[in-house]
């Protein structure tokens, strides 16, 4: 799965969970500081990534994923 596809699917989850437009999302954005994710939404994002990519993240790994780019990199490393 190439990085571009991963990015598209990550953004799909973000749009669904945070109810924002695609134009608002940049790779360098932090989920909480820049995109306004609340505490529970941070967890919902990780759960969304697990479901979208059929992966299992442990909580320490999930805690380390703080940004859009970080999520893309983590998932890229996981699936590839």
């Amino acid at each position: 799965m190439d990085r571009s596809e991963i990015k598209n699917r990550v953004c799909k989850v973000i749009i669904q969970v945070l109810e924002i437009d695609a134009e608002q999302i940049k790779e360098e954005d932090m989920f909480t500081a820049d995109l306004g994710a609340e505490s529970i939404q941070s967890v919902e994002l990780m759960a969304g990534f697990e479901e979208e990519f059929d992966i299992e993240m442990d909580e320490d790994e999930a805690h380390a994923v703080q940004s859009v780019g970080g999520a893309i990199d983590f998932i890229s490393g996981y699936v590839n």
Binding site: S39, I40, V43, E44, M46, A47, E50, M57, E59, A62
Partner: protein, 463 residues
């Protein structure tokens, strides 16, 4: 001021010499306690105290009953039986006391005795009235407490006597006890408001002098009764409220051996438990308690508090069965006794957290927000109560505890996010004001986690 430098460590320092999670934390002392008394520095050595035969005595069926509707005979027998198991074979709960005035009083005492427990030893309580000794003899009891009010509040204003009359009357009753072959346990009522030099000391000295003339098993005991909760543990406090000074007067000036000295407190100023423990450390071998502190007005030193304090001082269970504390609490609830939810050790919420940040800490390591291994000692694992403040951490903690999942089998926060969202929506969308019940959460688990639910004990029972 000596400069300090940060000490970096590779492993966390959990201070386990004091905080062995398998026990209540150890009470460590780094040296003796000093108190200036009569211009001299007096040393109280906690190590010496720990070498003495420290015990707990009980007045659940006497003072404990004075503040509530009476227990039935069966209830008292059941509680006595559980108390015996709690204190264990070493008799940490050494004695209890019963009234003798009614048929039910006698029936209770007889049925408790018939259980055959060595401890708690059965004693009685009577007024300081020679005639009441007949009851003690008929009951076959070897030691009885006797009310001997020691403050002028009582002597003059309640008993309408003067000091000389009280002095003589009390000694007369003690003598009657000795004649009947019964050990007198002299309850110095309101002693923390008494004239220690002018009445208490002369009286106790005379009791000790006369005790030398009788058999050792009849030696008078002294119960220091802090009837109104005025006692103070603070260093430097003045008599008659200072517990160290009062006890020192008894042991040093009146010649009362620690094994014949007992503390009885009340909680009018929230000091009851620490005052009892202080009395242990400064020379009283016995602290008199009631179950869950129920007693006159604001109550007495709580028995279970003294039990946990004892374990903390000794650093060992000493044969105590701590599970009985929960059994006794559960039994009390079945007979209609309410225990406040935030009551230490036995309240419904004593180890329940509501705050999400605390739930997060509990999930990382239970020791962070649990006082000791309450699962092992009490069968009470730490719990989380779910509210709008609990967060996903709290929901994950609740769900894993409910499903019985531990270690690597535990579900992550991501697996319970739908339940956490449901909880939050209850408050933010539905405007709910109350806590989420266990039944509601179970339903959410059944809905969103059907497989783990089906595999769990609750799920198997439900099906």
């Amino acid at each position: 001021m000596k400069p300090r430098t940060l000490v970096e460590v590779e492993e966390p320092n959990l201070l386990e010499d004091q905080f062995d999670y398998s026990l209540p934390p150890k009470i460590c002392f780094e040296g003796p306690i000093f108190e200036e008394i009569d211009g001299e520095v007096v040393k109280f050595d906690p190590q010496e105290a720990l070498a003495r035969d420290l015990v707990i005595t009980d007045t659940t069926f006497r003072d404990g009953q004075q503040a509530r509707p009476p227990y039935t005979v069966d209830q008292q027998v059941k509680l006595y039986d559980m108390m015996a198991k709690l204190g264990g074979p070493n008799g940490i709960i050494r004695q209890t006391e019963f009234f003798l005035y009614t048929k039910n009083d006698r029936k209770t005492l007889d049925e408790c005795r018939a259980l055959g427990h060595r401890y708690p030893e059965i004693t009685s309580w009577i007024r300081a009235d020679k005639g009441d000794f007949r009851l003690v003899v008929e009951a076959g009891v070897k030691e009885t407490g006797m009310l001997m009010p020691s403050s002028d509040y009582h002597i003059f204003m309640n008993l309408k006597k003067d000091r000389k009359k009280a002095f003589e009357d009390y000694l007369e009753v003690a003598e009657a006890g000795w004649e009947a072959g019964i050990r007198p346990r002299c309850h110095l009522e309101d002693v923390t408001r008494a004239d220690i030099e002018g009445f208490v000391l002369p009286f106790v000295q005379e009791l000790m002098r006369r005790s030398e003339q009788v058999a050792p098993e009849l030696h008078a005991k002294i119960r220091l009764c802090d009837t109104m909760g005025f006692g103070l543990s603070y260093p430097g406090a003045a008599l008659p409220r200072s517990i160290p000074k009062l006890v020192h007067r008894m042991t040093n000036d009146a010649g009362v051996p620690p094994e014949y000295l007992e503390w009885h407190g009340h909680n009018d100023f929230h000091k009851v438990h620490v005052n009892g423990a202080t009395a242990w450390l400064v020379g009283c071998n016995a602290v008199n308690t009631t179950l869950f502190g129920f007693g006159e007005r604001t109550g007495n030193p709580p028995l279970e508090g003294a039990i946990l304090e004892y374990i903390g001082l000794k650093g060992d269970l000493c044969g105590i069965d701590t599970h009985m504390i929960q059994e006794m609490a559960n039994y009390m609830r079945t007979i209609g006794v309410e225990i406040p939810p935030n009551y230490p050790f036995v309240g419904r919420d004593f180890n329940t957290t509501r705050a999400g940040i605390h739930a997060g800490g509990l999930r990382a390591d239970e020791r962070i927000y649990n006082i000791f291994d309450t699962t092992a000692l009490f069968d009470r694992p730490p719990r989380v109560a779910i509210t709008d403040k609990t967060g996903v951490d709290g929901v994950a903690l609740w769900v894993n505890e409910f499903l019985g999942l531990t270690g690597d089998d535990r579900l992550s926060k991501m697996k319970v996010h739908k339940i956490a969202r449901w909880v939050l929506d209850q408050y933010e969308v539905e405007g709910r004001m109350s806590a989420i019940t266990d039944e509601e959460l179970e339903e959410q688990v059944r809905t969103h986690l059907p497989n783990p639910y089906g595999a769990s004990k609750a799920g198997r029972m439900a099906s």
